[in-house]
Amino acid sequence: MIEFKNIKKKFGQLEVLKGIDFEVPQGKVTAVLGPNGSGKTTLIKSLLGMVFPDSGSIHLDNYRLNGKAEYRNNIGYLPQIARFPENLTARELLKMVSSVRASNNNAGELIERFKLDEYLDKKLQHLSGGTRQKINIVMALMFDADYLILDEPTTGLDPIALRILKQLIAEQKEAGKTILVTSHILNFVEEVADEVVFLLEGHIHYQGSIEKLTSTTNTEGLESAIARLMEDQHA
């Protein structure tokens, strides 16, 4: 289980997270939503140890994050921007990433599903954005980690790849993985997520199921529910 306890973070004068308290439910897909600059990425990065919160603590399976790196063996992360060393080939990159993880990997199967075989020996700088994103997804999922963090996973994907991604997320959930996803594509969120967390200006404004959200805001669909939440905030 992932637990955030009273996380606060300032960048200079800008207070990005103003006391975030929440638990990510085990074995479910949770979507973190919010407008640009609401603190989604900062929250995810503090879980990954890339950003150090000013106060509060983060716990992963009752292990309190303390700056050591080993706990990340249990996390698969898909970053927002897929940029790699330009002159390496995809095969070398995958090999490099595998070499830093202790666990076995199932890259072969994922490569087959995304039909990446023909791109493996090309330099990464010659690959299209969508293809890089597929490689990015392969790298996030190949280690069979218990926790998956997907930051804008749909970026640049064509409809076929998007369908594969959705299938993969469903399979991972089936296998008991806990998945945290951020996305601006609300249709995608509606399709894959069980729970949503809505962040606005560094606070959590809603946490719960999508159904509960639409019924409490008296709206149809996630998009209008989110719009209503934001209107209420500004009213």
């Binding site: 950003v51 150090f52 063996n73 970053p79 940029r83 002159n87 070398e92 963090i149």
Partner: protein, 260 residues
């Protein structure tokens, strides 16, 4: 860490820039060798180029490489790797790749010219050591500046300013100070100020090895006295070694507490 060094090195080896850098040194040293027809004078001419160029290229590559790889660095940070492994791995990968271009670019023409059968071989080795040490120092310093500045334009500007100060302005300022205070004893001052600038320290080492420090007049004699002895040479080598470790230490300190 070896993994990160290896892949960074592969990545850079295949970029055109490190080949360019090597070819530049190859052409320059070939040209100088055939123009002067003398190993020692070619080494002196190369020294003048190297002392300006190695820091400059190290600085520029350091900054560009840091900014270019920042997204990938973030990806690595999400893996179970220590920050020291990631940052020192990338830093040393870059330093080794640049040093290799430099050593091969200078070494191959000199080898073909018959370096092994001449008595200038140790002078040449000092030249190579200086080039490699300066590369490590300035790539490290540029890395520190880039780590401290998320704004690329600012980072690039500060890095170039740093190079300008060490390579050019420092000596100018020193000269002005010495002119102003010429009535006072300046021995200790000039010794200490040389030690504080790695480029000056490297220059002195080559000049002393070539035994042309007399060209520097009174100060040269002073340096000869100080640096020329075994003790002096070991001290200046130690100082250069400290200089080349200092930036990595700072990189480590900054990187372990930085938010990405």
């Amino acid at each position: 860490m070896l993994n990160i060094i290896r892949y960074t090195f592969y990545d850079l080896l295949r970029s055109r820039w490190s080949i360019f850098y090597m070819l530049f040194f190859m052409l320059t040293s070939t040209a100088l060798l055939f123009l002067s027809n003398d190993l020692s004078s070619a080494i002196i001419s190369l020294m003048n180029i190297l002392l300006i160029l190695a820091p400059l290229v190290g600085t520029i590559f350091g900054v560009i490489f840091y900014y270019n790889s920042s997204d990938f660095t973030e990806l690595l940070l999400a893996h179970p790797l220590k920050r020291s492994t990631i940052f020192l791995g990338q830093l040393y990968g870059l330093c080794i790749s640049l040093s290799l271009s430099l050593v091969l670019g200078l070494g191959i023409p000199f080898l073909f010219y018959g370096l092994l059968y001449s008595d200038a071989i140790f002078d040449f080795l000092i030249l190579l050591v200086d080039g490699v040490v300066l590369t490590f120092i300035f790539v490290g310093l540029a890395y520190i500046i880039a780590l401290k500045n998320d704004n690329k334009v600012k980072g690039f500007g500060y890095a170039l300013l740093m190079w300008l100060i060490f390579a050019i302005l420092y000596d100018g300022m020193l000269l002005v100070i010495m002119m102003q205070f010429q009535d006072y004893p300046l021995d200790t001052f000039s010794l200490v100020s040389t030690v504080l600038n790695p480029i000056d320290l490297s220059r002195i080492l080559i000049l002393l090895k070539l035994d042309i420090s007399a060209l520097l007049g009174y100060t040269g004699a002073l340096y000869q006295k100080f640096f020329g002895t075994v003790v002096g040479i070991s001290i200046s080598f130690t100082l250069l070694a400290i200089w080349s470790l200092l930036p990595s230490g700072l990189v480590l300190r900054i990187a372990t507490s930085k938010d990405f």
